[in-house]
């Protein structure tokens, strides 16, 4: 009964599945939307917002209804292809779980009593609260939590938070681990790209580049092409035989948490046998040889550290990789002309992930595969015009100097008092749901409970609303003006833009416009920093940079791109449009802007530290292999992994997408645990037997599936699978595998790994 009350939000959005009524009656009922007039088809280009990738899409409309999503052939990232999330995105628009108007909570939390209010009221409530906090000097206690995939939206929000005076714009982004590595070795706090199209050898350390990257569509196209020619070898190093591993040419099973160690082993072979690119090391790297620091003391370089600290036999033992394989892989990698060593965002969850990722990236430097075709390269950013510098007043400046509260995102440390410098007074939740792989939900729930005022911008109802006081529903990406730059993981310079394909449904409003309205409502310094009436004007300003740019062009048919490249390389360019207005009209009609020219050997772009070189990090840390010690009571190591296309968002509101996730195990909705056949036999567990998986933190009930892609001591469970059809979806599903992970500890000091857990497994019913 609870569910039905809960669903009475916003004027009768009903989720009762219509199995009532007579089937014979339904025989005559036409479940279509075909009418005999109209049915005018149109194709609107925009950018997909179902994940951070920013692929270009063409949306098929019949009259005023969105019916299908196809790829925009002129968008260089995905061309005319779309991933399953994009295809299923049509479900997002007319979703029965959409919140149709701003909601205010009446009654206690979790009472599920909501009152529909107008936007004026909603904005008034929120702005009053924010102004009050600001005047009390507590603006830093306002936290904005969650992803904003579009960089344009993120920029707008950060401007808001800055002028308001809060340093706490927090999101959960596992790719940070690589940003940290590149920050150290290249001086670039951003992701670097991989040139898959020209690569001939990929040594991937658990990287799910075919399915879990924002640029996966580009990678898949390159993969397809290389497969026809069969001149690319992919070696996948990871503990579990993932989907990407199944597409690789060889899979090297390795103990969980020892990927970095294996990379050091390969580096060790390369250093010992002088298989590294000597010229590259000489010219473009530092700290490979021993060096002296500022105090004049000698510090070990990468080479000495490797040779001194690591014995190949030890590495082979600890990683579980045979010595022969290790040496062969090292030789293959280094002898290839164009190779890549790839670390993945997964290392974010390992306690020494930074060092592991660093070791893996060092292989690229050893092989000289940086800033070359087929190697690690830096995307050239599009010359968008920066927004005018905001005027930050004294109140805000003072507040911004307060420490950032990175928990609850990066730690599971509980509570507000005692553990943290200040309490949270207002929590604003981004329109994007937290991913179901978000590991610290337990603490997050506690934070939500304790925060006196919680605002959510989410477009969909789900059980997280139990903690929320005010809802200002965002629209889907189909209903807003968008600008999305392609992720830095791709070497292509592309800015995709989109106009609203349909009017916002009911009373939902684009998040960006709401921020602008909110700023204006708050008046004073806030309003003056946000002069634009709507987000469309903000985008116009930013895009004017492209209009004035001396390179690139609005999207053109692919054959013409060749011509553009030739022209640009010779110093010519396509003629500028007559006016900014004409340019903007055209860019929204075509779907974006791109610059097809890429120059390699651009040292200034690839290294932005002082010496303009790759800086090696000598492996001083003893790379740990077991994240948890051996335990007789919990003899297995459970690996939690992301299902395809789900890292940032499980796509719970896209049933067409969710349904496809378990296909490898023929499961549509149920989660499962993967067990090695030998283990299964020993435990007398058969395929599809119900089992309990128990860790020191909790236990869950699930179904065992026999899978030979794991070593006998390992188990695996998927993240990103919704077992229930939304909006039954809970913030922390009772049956989610995350229940097994350890509480306590802080990722910042590296005392926990959230992706491997010690467990035991046994059949239900004894």
């Amino acid at each position: 009964m609870k569910r039905r009350d809960f669903l009475k939000i916003g004027g009768g959005a009903s989720l009762a599945w219509p199995l009532s009524g007579c089937a014979i009656g339904k025989l005559s009922e036409r479940v279509t939307n075909t009418t005999w007039s109209g049915n005018l088809e149109s194709w609107i280009p925009t950018v997909c917002g179902a994940c951070p990738g920013g692929c270009g899409i063409l949306v098929r409309k019949i009259d005023d209804r969105v019916v299908k999503v196809e790829g925009n052939p002129w968008h260089p990232l995905n061309r005319d292809k779309v991933c399953p999330r994009g295809q299923a995105a049509v479900d997002l628009l007319y979703n029965p779980a959409r919140i149709q108007a701003p909601q205010k909570r009446v009654g206690g939390r979790a009472s599920r009593k909501w009152q529909e209010i107008t936007w004026e009221e909603a904005l008034a409530i929120l702005s009053e609260k924010l102004i009050q906090l600001r005047n009390e000097g507590k603006s830093h206690t306002v936290i904005f939590l969650g992803q904003l995939d579009s960089s344009a939206s993120a920029e707008l929000l950060s401007r808001f938070m800055r002028t308001y005076g809060s340093p706490n714009q927090i999101q959960f982004d596992p790719w940070e681990i690589l940003e940290n590595v590149y920050s150290h070795s290249h001086g670039i706090r951003d992701l670097l790209a991989f040139d898959f199209e020209n690569c001939r050898y990929i040594l991937s350390f658990g990287a799910q580049f075919l399915t879990n990257w924002p640029t996966s569509l580009e990678v898949q196209r390159a993969y397809g092409e290389r497969r026809s020619k069969r001149d690319l070898k992919i070696v996948q190093v990871e503990p579990r035989f993932s989907l990407t591993a199944s597409r690789a040419d060889s899979w090297i099973p390795v103990r969980p948490g020892t990927e970095g160690l294996l990379a050091l082993g390969i580096a060790s072979v390369m250093v010992r046998e002088r298989l590294y690119d000597e010229e590259f090391i000489d010219r473009f790297t530092s700290k490979f040889e021993d060096w002296t620091d500022q105090r004049g003391e000698k510090v070990e370089g990468f080479r000495t550290a490797i040779l001194r600290r690591f014995r190949l036999e030890d590495i082979s033992d600890k990683t579980g990789v045979p010595l022969k394989t290790l040496i062969e892989t090292a030789k293959e990698f280094s002898s290839s002309e164009r190779a890549l060593a790839i670390a993945d965002y997964n290392l974010f969850f390992h306690k020494d992930g930074f060092f592991q990722a660093s070791a893996i990236h060092a292989l690229n430097a050893l092989g000289g595969f940086i800033d070359k075709p087929g190697g690690v390269v830096r995307q050239r950013k599009a010359p968008l015009k920066a927004l005018p510098e905001p005027q930050v007043d004294e109140i805000a400046k003072k507040a911004l100097s307060q420490p950032r509260l990175d928990w609850p995102v990066k730690s599971s440390r509980a509570g507000t008092l005692g553990g943290n410098p200040y309490e949270i007074n207002c929590l604003m939740l981004s329109p994007q749901a937290l991913p179901s792989s978000y590991p610290f939900y337990r603490n997050f729930e506690r934070v939500l409970e304790k925060t006196p005022f919680v605002v959510s911008f989410q477009p969909y109802q789900d059980a997280s609303l139990d903690y929320v006081d005010l809802v200002l529903p965002d629209t889907t990406f189909f209903e807003k003006w968008q600008m999305r730059e392609v992720s830095s993981l791709s070497m292509k310079t592309v800015v995709g833009v989109g106009q609203p394909v349909v009017e916002p449904l009911q009373s939902s409003r684009p998040f960006e416009d709401v921020i602008l309205s909110l700023a204006k409502k708050m008046g004073g310094p806030m309003a003056s920093n946000f002069p634009w009436p709507t987000h469309q004007e903000v985008l116009r300003d930013q895009l004017s940079g492209l209009y004035e740019a001396e390179r690139g062009s609005i999207f053109i048919p692919p054959p013409d791109e060749v011509q553009l490249k030739i022209l640009e390389e010779q110093g010519w360019r396509f003629p500028r449009r007559d006016s900014l207005d004409a340019f903007l009209k055209d860019i929204f009609e075509k779907g974006g802007w791109q610059d097809p020219v890429y120059h390699f050997n651009l040292r200034t772009a690839t290294y932005q530290n002082i010496q303009r070189k790759f800086e090696f990090l000598a492996p001083v840390q003893d790379q740990n292999q077991e994240t948890e010690p051996e335990d007789a009571e919990f003899p297995f190591q459970l690996i939690l992994y992301d299902l395809p296309f789900t890292p940032t968002d499980s796509g719970g509101n896209m049933p067409v997408f969710q349904q496809t996730l378990g296909f490898q195990f023929e499961s549509e909705w149920k989660i499962w645990v993967e067990v090695n056949p030998t283990t299964a036999e020993k435990l007398q567990v058969r395929d599809r037997d119900p089992v309990w998986v128990e860790s020191p933190s909790g236990k869950i009930r699930t179904v065992a599936r026999v899978f030979p892609g794991l070593a006998p001591g390992l188990l695996a469970m998927p993240l990103g699978k919704e077992e229930v059809f939304p909006p039954e979806k809970k913030l922390s599903d009772k049956n989610s595998p995350l229940r097994l992970t350890r509480e306590g500890g802080d990722l910042r000091d590296g005392s926990v790994s959230q992706r491997t857990v010690r467990v035991k497994i046994y059949k239900t019913g004894g």
């Binding site: 089937a23 479940v31 898949q220 199944s246 395809p644 349904q659 056949p677």
Partner: protein, 230 residues
Amino acid sequence: MSKWGMVIDLDRCTGCQACVAACMVENNVPFSTPEIEKRQRSISWMSVLTVTEGTYPDIRQRFIPRPCMHCENPPCVKVCPVGATYKNDEGLVAQIYTRCIGCRYCTNNCPYTLKYFNYFPPHWPKPMRKRLNPDVSVRQVGVVEKCTFCHHRLQKAKEKAGLEKRQLREEDYVPACVQTCPPRAIYFGDLDNPKSPVALLAKSSRAFRLLEELGTEPQVFYLTEGEWHG
């Protein structure tokens, strides 16, 4: 007239399921729910079969997308008592929803198990009906359905060619799964056209079909995986 067929390169297929999602959206296939999965009645015209072989650590896994095979000798057509499924002159095995009496003889005779039956009336929540594709009829309770190679797209292509006063070109007709496949693993065309890529690939030494020994002569070919030639 034509013999439309498909060639699916298993070397390229990444198992991403874009074809499955595209097919479901294009053809108004109702999505499954936990209840439907429990009772094993999900409908998915295009489904990807996972075949895992070997023992740890030497294992291989491949993904086999399976649309309707549109056989030349379709076992399903033979047994339909009312002719609701038949082989049309485009070489497609067609399904007439308004004639089907739901006896499920054809679903039982398909050796690939690629025909589906609507056990319940379609469960579209009212708001979601807006996104139904008007080109494809929504099937009612009690009838059999299956992949049609997006036959409605062929009709549209023909109409377009007629309006533009030209012949239908092979590349005008592209089913949804072919259009969206990111690694471009699915090729589609007229097997009767000797210059068509599908016709050439179907003769390749890597080409095979499922359950060939049954003599159904499917029009969907698969290309086996290759090896890195170092």
